[in-house]
Symmetry: C2
Subunit: 218 residues, 2 copies
DNA sequence: AATTATTTTTAGATAAATCTAAATATCCTA
DNA sequence: TAGGATATTTAGATTTATCTAAAAATAATT
């Protein structure tokens, strides 16, 4: 059984290890959780003693099989709750994260089973990220970055890479949402920015930074 | 802002003070929370410093106005979640308590506003207890104990006094549920037990202890 | 390769929530 | 009302999660 804080560390470390594919450094963990390196050292010792991380002094940590299972269950709960908040309680996609951060630690297997059922077994959360099943299995949609679409081609918005609130609010404002059909009308060589048409209607300009942050169908 | 533990203490103390109407003793609190008296002393010092309790050494505590407001908001969240679990997730009324104990501490006013809306502003929880509104206002249904019904009279099951799981499971088993119409067919002088007909159909015998634990319409 | 810079760990403290054991206050009863 | 029984508080520890500052290890650079 993991504590609230332990679950948060494990989840963060799992995400970091997915991003980099390598062992995760103490400082990277400290940054992502807004804590100090010393606190991280203490915690990773505890988590490796519990068998969810493997840790070599001065050389970072990797997530064990057992740790991955546990992390995926937390992520499952997080994404189910986000789905609940958006689908049932009419939250915007930029309002769900903080609340789901709390809800993901509620401990009740019956609750999650029933919630999943109530939501009709969703496969993806409101940001397009896959929801692991009870066994931790999930499948990401085949996807490429919006920035890689060539002029004239079309894609469906699938998810965002970094789902921080101000970015999501910006997308909302310009009219980009999950499932929107986007067509690349033009691209500027100089700065990589592009002109995009949403649902054959609204035309917007987005920077390369924004396009790089959006996944579309391949 | 109250911590998880502080909220639990405050809620328990509020309930105890409602039951007795007097100041609440250290031991009574310790019993109801399964902790030790020494822990309670520490906590009530902290809570009275925060202004939610008033405390006189060796003479117990009372809940302040500010404390009552805070306690009622926790109770509001608890009962809204219980309603959600039963109405939407198909929990049985004996399965909701432990989960609601966790959910009641989730901190998000938007969440509670939307949950209330989603549940269509319920006035009573699955055990028949009133749900306080955003201002802490609530009204209990006029009610008497089932044991006080005279032979031949009829009542509607409104709520239970002590909603511990084994009691609720017992009620389920014999067919008593919230909203059921009950008619008292007979009462035994000797031990106070009675013969009850549920919904003009099933006839069951219940002890005085059980009847004392059930509220019906007056 | 030697030195500097960076990262990580250790040592020692702190705050929250809990406990046991001892001290003290209040209650009750003979 | 005096003294024992009960209730409450204090003192001192423990666990968890944090921190700062110092020490140690690793990485980078000239």
């Amino acid at each position: 059984m993991l504590s609230y804080a332990e679950e948060n560390y494990l989840k963060a470390i799992y995400h970091l290890s997915q991003e980099t594919g390598e062992s995760v450094s103490t400082n990277a963990i400290a940054d992502s959780l807004n804590t100090k390196a010393a606190s991280v050292t203490d915690m990773i010792k505890k988590l490796s003693k519990k068998g969810v991380l493997s840790y070599q002094k001065y050389h970072g940590v990797t997530v064990s099989e057992k740790g991955e299972k546990a992390a995926l269950q937390v992520i499952r709960k997080h994404r189910l709750w986000e789905t609940f908040l958006v689908d049932k309680l009419k939250f915007n996609w930029d309002e769900v994260h903080e609340v789901a951060e709390q809800l993901e630690h509620i401990n009740s297997s019956l609750l999650i089973k029933r919630l999943d059922e109530f939501l009709a077994y969703p496969k993806y959360d409101p940001h397009g990220d896959p929801i692991p099943d009870e066994n931790g299995e999930f499948k990401a949609k085949p996807q490429i970055g919006l920035a890689e679409l060539t002029v004239g081609s079309v894609g469906i918005i699938l998810s965002v890479k970094d789902s921080n609130n101000s970015f999501l609010q910006y997308l909302d404002k310009i009219g980009i949402y999950l499932g929107a059909k986007v067509k690349v009308l033009d691209k500027v060589e100089f700065d990589g920015s592009s002109e995009i048409q949403i649902d054959n209607k609204k035309i917007v300009f987005i920077s390369k930074e924004v396009a790089d942050n959006i996944w579309v169908t391949d």
